[in-house]
């Protein structure tokens, strides 16, 4: 077959490739409807499942393929991945792959929101094709079905004149597919809409899409009757398929990962507060050292959020410990989102992984750790002010605007009073809280 030199018809190239367009079609459908439980019949190399696993709304993914082999799925791309453990999903996700046929009944496939049969039916012989509607629509009876198949009217545009794959038993034109689909829909009380992917080239619009797609939707009346969520009541257990691979994802619905995520978000917020605390001016109040300025991170917050945080109780330090009141922590958007604003939840869960103070109102961490050590090493740390302005009466109101440190133990404070007059204090020795 060395006849490459024979001029052939121009090969049509799709951008992106048609297979990708088909998958994207399903993806968009899943997103639009927020589908939770999805099965892919004839999952092939599992690319569709892999694409769907990233969706937040998806919770169950099932693949069925007649040629699935167990060993090939160990640690593959359907597994959660390292990142999946570090940033767990919001909702649980279970992925299961079965070896089985689309014309065999298995009760584990019942009650799905969507079953996709991408480029599947053309591989079925007439006997299987006849059984197919009864199994998928009648028995599995999902909320939606997506069936895609080649549009034979498009074939003349390809160089090869036969079927697109030697394993194809048939390739239908639009009328053939639509007739079949409408019959099936009618029989099992679904409504169907037709569309496709792979636009025909200019001048050949009449042939239609390269791939034709039927989207079947279960009619609502029927759906409420035969309740999608509780199929087991109607369907006796029937396990024909062989499990080839199964995995569950870590998620915030699992207490271990919820606790981890909440504590690490809290510790991150506290870390930023701590470095601002150490860099800003502080003063001693009894055994506490409190910040004079703001301790709110400069980044990642809206103006409104910052203002709200400013209102809340400030962090403080006692000795070598740093305390952040839970009332402040809970305002941080990520923390707030996780506990849904519940102070009790925040307290209980943080107490499991972190240290809280005596009355459980604040988180306690070390003031000096490897991240703040740098502030000490590089003298970025600012001193504690001890009541700079001693001679004050009820008429004076001080705002410390700026403090200039001279050497390491001497400080000059510049203040303005209510009248806008500027005062500069005499340089004075300041006690620096030594933190060993």
């Amino acid at each position: 077959m060395d006849n490459c030199e024979v001029p052939s018809k121009k090969v049509i190239e799709f951008k992106p490739p048609v297979y990708e367009q088909r998958y994207c079609f399903v993806k968009n459908l899943v997103n639009r409807h927020g589908l939770r439980k999805i099965a892919d019949l004839g999952f092939g190399d599992a690319t569709l499942l892999w694409m769907l696993k990233y969706h937040r709304c998806v919770q169950y993914l099932v693949g069925v393929d007649i040629a699935a082999r167990p060993f090939e799925w160990g640690g593959g791309r359907l597994s959660p991945g390292v990142g999946g453990y570090i940033v767990p999903r919001e909702l649980d996700l279970t992925i299961t792959l079965y070896r089985g046929s689309a014309v065999q009944k298995d009760s584990r496939l019942c009650g799905f929101d969507l079953i996709t049969c991408i480029e599947l039916i053309e591989h079925l012989d007439s006997e299987d094709l006849a059984k197919f509607p009864e199994v998928v629509f009648g028995y599995f009876s999902p909320g939606m079905v997506v069936i895609s198949t080649p549009n034979s009217e498009f074939n003349p545009l390809f160089p090869a004149s036969t079927f697109r794959d030697p394993d194809h038993r048939f390739e239908w034109n639009r009328t053939q597919f639509q007739t079949w689909a409408l019959d099936v829909a009618k029989l099992y009380n679904y409504s169907v809409e037709f569309t496709g992917v792979g636009d025909p080239p200019a001048g050949a619009e009449h042939v239609g899409y390269c791939t034709q797609i039927g989207v079947f939707q279960k009619n609502i009346a029927k759906a409420t009757e035969s309740s999608i969520s509780e199929p087991e009541e109607h369907v006796p257990e029937e396990h024909i398929y062989e499990v080839v691979y199964t995995t569950s994802y870590p998620s915030l619905q699992q207490s271990k990962y919820f606790r981890l995520t909440l504590s690490s978000e809290s510790v991150k917020a506290i870390g930023l507060m701590k470095s601002r605390f150490l860099r800003g001016l502080r003063k001693r109040e009894g055994d506490r050292v409190v910040p004079l300025g703001s301790c709110t991170p400069q980044f990642g917050l809206t103006e409104a959020q910052r203002a709200e945080i400013e209102q809340s109780p400030k962090p403080y330090s006692v000795g070598e410990k740093f305390y952040v009141p839970l009332e402040r922590l809970i305002i941080y958007p990520k923390v707030n989102h996780l506990v849904a604003g519940s102070m009790e939840k925040l307290r209980t869960i943080l107490a499991e992984g972190l240290l809280l103070n005596g009355d459980q109102s604040a988180v306690q961490v070390e003031l000096v750790d490897y991240q703040t050590q740098r502030l000490f090493d590089e003298h970025l740390i600012s001193p504690v002010l001890e009541s700079l302005m001693e001679e004050q009466d009820e008429y004076s109101e001080n705002y410390i605007l700026r403090a200039v440190s001279i050497g390491q133990t001497t400080l000059v404070a510049i203040a303005r009073d209510k009248m806008g007059r500027k005062f500069t204090s005499a340089p004075r020795q300041i006690e620096i809280t030594r933190l060993e």
């Binding site: 167990p70 090939e72 160990g74 390292v82 990142g83 453990y85 394993d167 930023l272 090493d377």
Partner: protein, 852 residues
């Protein structure tokens, strides 16, 4: 060897040559950008009922047809390249037996598992050619695997080379397949080699098989090891996750094929690069933000959130924002924001972040095109610990508590792994189809060498425990010491009192050990590094014997500036002591004793000795260490004994610019050491034994071809008639085998002085394991010794005992250490130079252990 030093050493293990690499190509052309999602992009066109396989991912390098498997190198693991260096066959005296005889036999449990194969087992290597040629490795694999002929056979395939455990009927098999686009592809499978089980290629295939099996056991491969995230331990206060797992390998040991598994932990940080950058920005402000970011981030390994891959940050492109577009592989343009939303349902929160640039290694060696990956900081996680983190005591304590396993705990983990492998249906199936039988955990017999006597000036003491004999040494006189008459103490104004107290103690303990310490001149200075340095410049002259600095904090700048000045500019031995150390009440005497000993050594004194039966023996330690600041520089340290008692040392050090850790200057050093020896002993040494530490993976061959000849030539040149006999021993502190002893139905670390020279050793080497250090908690890692050159012809027993003796004479620790003292001295020297001095220390100091 302080804990701090060890911690520091570990923190440096960052990749050395990161900085320059990415720069050259910035800004990267968007056309060649790969977003690190090759999973998504390389399946082009092949859909249908056949599927792709995850098999032999990255393990077998794919390359040109015709090249043999092993020659294509690059990714071949060290133990295979090093194992092909057969040094034993050249050493006549150990060709038949390399086992020692002295000591008490001890039964040891190991972390090795037997792996049995049928007698006549063979591996068949095939070459697979595709017509027309197909680029995609995935497609190549999928097409081949979809064939019925191969579907039920045990196989490993990288796209070019196919391994089968059963021979195909024909020498050349022709198959054909069609892609979904209707293209007919002809595959020709040609038998190229039949390999016996001992062949290195087979060993590599076995490793691939076990990788697959561990993946099947729900473990994740990160680097070379496998981890179990479902059993992770969290340390939330430090934003860390610890994943337990295993380092595994299959290799040919002394008499059989063995599977090795060692417990390992992966430290993962719950911190994205974006969060890290935000932290930097808040601390440093915008002025030096970009420089600080680059300084801290370049060279780090990050893990992407979405696709389980690791990348090295080679550059940061500040000009590219997530809202910019790039070209996908199919040619369409998309913004980063949209791409991550569409592909992974991830919404980027910060649209001003720059992108990280990572150079991708070309899978095919002949491909000159450099590809880069653009990564979004928000989606990248930092891995490993920074130097700051490793020096955080609290953090390291928390990590150690979780990761330090007792021998029993370790054994339980191993037993569970073995059990999992044997029970898992798929794992068993895979092993069976290959004809492998996973056997039981191996036990062997080691020997505990007789304990050593410590020779002091006025008596010989037999320590109660060889782990530490400081108690036994109380009131003993050290071998020799020069008296300290003219010396300086520099301290801050505030530390005057504590210094006085300490000096009092020091003089008292000095007196009792036979080290006369006169009262020093005390200089009080301000509390900052510059003031200390100024005092040194003003007061230190060549007549000063020693300078002691009482440092107010452990800030690196104090130590570095003092050591730099006194090691190279004005060579005088120096002793730094932290105020904090002196404030430890109740421990003053023991602290003063240790410091007095160090000072005595720095003046050229000798503390203790062990009996060395060989007369006229010189021992040498060599270590190599990467310089902390100048990337691409390595520090080579060379320490040689210059008296038959092995109590006095000659130490040299050099900085060399090189890409490998191979020492370049050994001839000069060796000649210098021999001259020094001759001066002291009036004749060259009869024997020289060199211990070489700091050898990287796969460097054994270079060492033999490059370093041994340097040493040999200087030895032959040094003497006119009979030249000294030379032995060279490679010392490795990291090795896979672990040994435990069974005591009262529990497991413990083996006794000090345990030698293993059978079963767990390698047939092609003259090697042994020695346990010469004690561990209070955790499991001991034995030290591996590989004698790569040996003219001396010492009996293996003598070689082992000499090595053990040398582990006793490290003067910074009154007890046994894990490696021979000359190696530890060389390490200490290179570490000081690499961390603080960054310059060759003055030759005037070479006769004393000034770096202790």
């Amino acid at each position: 060897m302080s804990g701090r030093a060890r911690v520091r050493a570990r923190g440096m293990a960052r990749s050395p040559s990161a900085a320059g690499a990415g720069r050259a190509l910035a800004p990267p052309s968007p056309a060649s950008v790969d977003l690190g999602n090759s999973e998504a992009s390389s399946t082009s066109g092949f859909v249908g009922t056949s599927r792709m396989s995850e098999k032999c991912e990255d393990v077998i390098p794919s390359g040109d047809a015709g090249c043999t498997f092993i020659e294509r190198g690059g990714k071949i693991r060290w133990d295979f390249t090093d194992l092909s260096v057969c040094t034993r066959e050249k050493l006549a005296h150990v060709r038949d037996c390399k086992r020692g005889s002295s000591g008490v036999p001890v039964k040891l449990v190991t972390n090795l598992f037997s792996l049995d194969l049928p007698q006549d087992w063979q591996l068949y290597q095939y070459h697979v050619a595709y017509v027309p040629d197909i680029e995609s490795r995935r497609l190549r694999i999928a097409l081949l695997y979809s064939h019925k002929e191969l579907s039920n056979k045990a196989k490993a395939f990288d796209g070019v080379i196919l391994f089968l455990s059963q021979k195909l009927e024909e020498k050349v098999t022709e198959l054909s397949s069609e892609t979904s686009r209707g293209k007919t592809v002809k595959m020709t499978i040609t038998l190229t080699r039949e390999l016996p089980a001992r062949s290195p290629v087979c060993i590599q295939v076995f490793n691939i098989i076990f990788r697959k099996i561990l993946k099947k056991l729900a473990m994740y491969q990160i680097g070379r090891n496998f981890y179990k995230p479902s059993e992770s331990v969290e340390i939330p206060q430090h934003k860390l996750s610890l994943w337990p797992g295993f380092a595994i390998s299959v290799s040919q040991f002394e008499s059989r094929l063995l599977f090795t598994a060692d417990v390992s932990y992966k430290i993962l940080r719950n911190e994205t690069v974006l969060e890290f950058m935000t932290g930097i920005c808040q601390e440093t402000g915008m002025s030096c933000f970009t420089q600080t970011c680059e300084k801290q981030l370049l060279g780090l390994i990050v893990l992407t959130r979405y696709n389980n891959k690791t990348y090295r940050i080679d550059d940061i492109d500040w000009s590219v924002k997530p809202t910019h577009t790039f070209q996908k592989q199919d040619g369409t343009e998309v913004t980063y924001v949209d791409y991550y939303k569409q592909q992974y349902d991830i919404t980027l929160s910060n649209l001003n972040q720059p992108v990280l640039v990572s150079l991708l290694k070309s899978k095919r060696n002949d491909n000159p095109e450099v590809r880069v990956a653009h990564l979004i900081p928000e989606l990248c996680f930092l891995t490993g610990l920074t130097r700051q983190a490793t020096s955080d005591f609290q953090l390291m304590k928390a990590v150690a508590e979780e990761t330090r396993l007792s021998p029993l705990g370790r054994q339980q983990r191993l037993a569970r792994l073995a059990d999992d492998i044997q029970r898992n249906k798929d794992a068993r199936f895979e092993l069976e189809t290959w004809g492998l039988h996973f056997g039981c955990q191996m036990s062997l017999t080691g020997r505990v060498l007789p304990s050593e006597k410590i020779l002091m000036q006025d008596r010989v003491c037999q320590p109660g425990s060889a782990a530490e004999w400081s108690k036994d040494m109380r009131n003993c006189k050290i071998l020799s010491a020069r008296s300290l008459n003219k010396w300086l103490v520099i301290c801050s104004n505030r530390d005057e009192n504590v210094t006085e107290d300490f000096l009092h103690c020091l003089r008292r303990v000095g007196g009792s050990m036979g080290f006369n310490v006169d009262y020093p001149k005390i200089i009080k200075v301000q509390e900052n590094p510059a003031a200390f340095l100024k005092a040194l410049q003003k007061y230190v002259d060549p007549n000063v014997q020693l300078v002691m600095c009482i440092l107010p904090s452990n800030q690196k700048s104090y130590y570095d500036s003092i050591k730099k000045y006194l090691s190279s500019v004005c060579p005088v031995p120096s002793q730094c002591v932290l105020t904090r150390t002196l404030n430890k009440q109740g421990m003053m005497m023991s602290i003063a004793t240790r410091i007095a000993m160090q000072m005595a050594c720095k003046l050229g004194g000798e503390l203790w000795a062990v009996e060395i039966p060989l007369k006229s023996l010189m021992v040498v330690g060599i270590d190599v260490c990467k310089d902390e600041f100048s990337k691409g520089m390595v520090v080579v340290g060379f320490v040689a004994s210059i008296n038959p008692g092995i109590t006095r040392w000659f130490s040299r050090c050099i900085l060399q610019r090189t890409t490998t850790d191979v020492a370049d200057c050994l001839k000069v050093f060796m000649t210098g050491a021999l001259n020094r020896w001759c001066k002291h002993n009036h004749a060259p040494p009869a024997r020289i034994v060199v211990y070489r530490d700091g050898v990287g993976d796969g460097q054994l061959k270079t060492l033999i071809e490059y370093e041994v000849p340097q040493l040999l030539s200087s030895v032959t040149e040094a003497s006119s008639n009979t030249s000294a006999k030379l032995s060279v021993i490679v010392v490795r502190k990291k090795c896979a085998p672990r040994f435990f002893t069974e005591v009262n139905r529990s497991l413990q670390n083996p006794p000090l002085g345990t030698v293993v020279d059978s079963e767990a050793t390698r047939p092609e080497w003259y090697d042994f394991y020695l346990i010469s250090q004690a561990a209070g908690r955790g499991t001991i890692t034995p030290t591996h010794y590989n004698v790569i050159y040996d003219d001396n012809g010492l009996k293996p027993d003598h070689m082992q005992r000499l090595t053990f003796k040398l582990c006793h004479v490290y003067y910074n620790w009154p007890g046994l250490i894990s490696i021979p003292a000359p190696c530890q001295y060389a390490h200490k020297l290179t570490f000081l130079v690499a961390q603080s001095v960054h310059k060759e220390p003055s030759l005037e100091l070479a006769n004393s252990l000034f770096y202790l």
